[in-house]
């Protein structure tokens, strides 16, 4: 046992029982190719505990009907459960009001909603949008589409060699044409935690709204949208131990009310004639058609599960994993960690000298270790570090120190094969 492991074991007051937590996740019992599954691709998608699976089964077995429509009992139950999920989400991120929480299909749709409903109404020719080099493609491409349509301009905040935003340079990007700021709370490719509070303060002082892409932050830390004072906050359910096909756009009520609808259809209207349609109030204005009811209710159950463990305990365990893994990889010759920001979430991107990340991924997979390899939908980050791709291990609260050891052993094997 290493000194770090010993220190962790003996940490006073640590009630985090990772083995008990792992027992909740049936998929972690898999043995692909006869080896225990070491799932380190949590930044792409996390796994689902039995409690959430059971909730989905209960919904489909005894509660399913369409919502907000019929007067029959099942519809009333489904509507109540769906809205209860919204309440849970609102509490989880400390939204002021439940109606500020809009269900979407995921972070990508949440950002696209903001682009269509806010951007297309309030951003015009010559206006500017500030993004960062660290953004995921989903917080770049919608704004490029808007800029192309409107003749607006994208300005990009640079980063240093550690993968941290150059905050002085960032502030200089603001001018009288700045209409929106889009910023990742946590970089999916590098794990950098951006100083979003400071960025929001810059923007607030100039009356510019801020959209925070929280897809990689919400699973790893306590997020309080009122404390951040952001205007929009987007995240996904499937990275939060919930189902795929569900995500959230939080928006301040006053802003959401001024925005135009995104998708047209049922449920987003109050009345329709061929002469005039009156739109529904928020959040229904933005939830046209039958939403992913089961997925929303499943996400509500995932929030219950995470809240019972506690986001602070989750963050502490994940940072222990990150610190331990970082120490191990730092000591390995031929391994370069990409992204060494002072403040990071549990993401470890790395490159091996002379070995392409896809070969790393295939060989690690042979040892049961699942990592992501590629550009992580963040090609500007890859270009900044002059690599075509990286290998990325991303941790969740159900990962263990022994799994970090398995990753390290797997990397040694890759180096041996390519020596």
């Amino acid at each position: 046992m290493t000194a770090i492991q010993t220190a962790l074991k003996s940490r006073p007051g640590s009630a985090f029982d990772v083995e008990r937590i792992r027992a909740d996740f049936p998929i972690l019992k898999l043995r692909p190719g006869g080896k225990p599954l070491v799932y380190l691709d949590n930044a792409a998608s996390s796994q689902m505990p039995q409690q959430v699976i059971d909730r989905l089964v209960r919904y489909q077995t005894a509660q399913h009907a369409n919502i907000h429509r019929a007067v029959h009992t099942l519809s009333e139950i489904a509507t109540a459960e769906y809205e209860e999920a919204r309440r849970k989400l609102a509490r989880f991120i400390n939204a002021r009001e439940e109606r500020e929480v809009i269900f979407t299909s995921g972070t990508t749709e949440a950002i696209n909603l903001a682009m269509h409903a806010y951007g297309r109404k309030f951003i015009g020719a010559g206006d500017e949008i500030i993004l960062t080099t660290l953004e995921h493609h989903s917080n770049i491409v919608p704004w490029q589409m808007l800029a192309e349509e409107k003749g607006a301009r994208i300005r990009v905040a640079p980063i240093n060699d550690a993968g941290e935003l150059l905050i002085d340079e960032y502030e200089k990007l603001f001018n009288e044409r700045t209409r929106l700021v889009g910023v990742a709370h946590v970089s999916n490719a590098l794990g950098t935690v951006n100083p979003v509070k400071q960025i929001i303060a810059f923007a607030r002082a100039r009356g510019v709204p801020v959209l925070v892409d929280g897809a990689q932050a919400v699973p790893h830390m306590k997020v309080d949208v009122q404390d951040l004072d952001c205007d929009f906050y987007a995240f996904s359910g499937h990275k939060l131990c919930g189902p795929t096909g569900i995500g959230i756009l939080y928006g301040k009520a006053a802003l959401l009310e001024r925005m135009q609808p995104f998708k047209g259809g049922g449920d987003m209207i109050l009345s329709v004639t061929f002469e005039k349609t009156t739109y529904n109030v928020i959040p229904q204005k933005f939830e046209a058609g039958t939403p992913p009811i089961a997925a929303a209710i499943g996400l509500g159950a995932a929030i219950d599960y995470l809240s019972a463990i506690g986001m602070d305990a989750i963050a502490a365990h994940e940072l222990d994993l990150l610190d331990y893994a970082t120490e191990q990889l730092k000591r390995m010759p031929g391994v370069r960690i990409i992204g060494t920001a002072g403040e990071k979430a549990a993401v470890l991107s790395f490159a091996l000298d002379g070995v392409h990340p896809h070969d790393v991924g295939t060989l690690l997979n042979q040892d049961g270790v699942a990592v992501r390899t590629g550009h992580h939908c963040a090609q500007p980050v890859m270009q900044r570090f002059k690599v075509p791709a990286t290998s990325r291990a991303s941790f969740a609260f159900y990962n263990t120190m022994a799994e970090v050891d398995a990753l390290v052993a797997g990397i040694r094997n890759v180096q041996k094969v390519f020596s």
Binding site: G33, V355, H356, P357, H358, D359, T362, L363, N365, Q366, T373, G374, H375, M382, P388, A389, V417, F418
Partner: protein, 162 residues
């Protein structure tokens, strides 16, 4: 699923370490660029046709070991042979990599190229192995650019549709 170890055999690792026919070829009568946007693999193939014979061929680029070794062994296999022989190998290599022929049971001309048969069990890596062949095909047909994401995606369409 086959043991991926069988893919990283010494012959593949050797061609990755010391790729044959690696570098630029100028002048070249035919050339093409190939890229796989999913993983960033990128390579160029240049060749000189003398009549129907591939007199010279070279490749260069950035890619994983599977792609580089495949390109290296491809150039060694087609150099000095006819365009028709190359087309046959392109078709057979593609069929092997996508599992449409069993090289242990069906006749083929692949020779040592059968070390790549294991990729058929690794769907995400099939394109890595095929990209050089795709690019050679494009070069022979003087198609300037090729991509594993184009309509002649090796996973979905015959490679001969460029």
């Amino acid at each position: 699923m086959a043991d991926p170890k069988s893919l990283y055999q010494e012959v593949i690792l050797d061609h990755n370490r010391k790729p044959r026919n690696y570098g630029a070829l100028a002048p070249a009568s035919h050339k093409a660029e190939g890229h796989n946007p999913l993983c960033g693999d990128h390579l160029s193939v240049a060749l000189n046709l003398e009549g129907e014979r591939i007199a010279a061929i070279a490749f260069q680029g950035e890619s994983c070991a599977i792609c580089k070794a495949s390109a290296s062994m491809m150039t060694a296999s087609v150099k000095g042979n006819t365009r028709q022989d190359a087309e046959t190998l392109i078709q057979e290599f593609r069929d092997m990599a996508t599992g449409q022929i069993d090289v242990d049971k069906q006749p083929h001309h692949l020779g040592r190229l059968t070390v790549f048969a294991g990729v058929r069990d690794l769907p995400t890596r099939v394109k890595c192995a095929i990209l050089p062949w795709h690019t050679l095909h494009a070069a022979l047909h003087s198609v300037a650019d090729t991509s594993t994401e184009s309509e002649n995606d090796p996973m979905h369409a015959p490679i001969g549709d460029a």
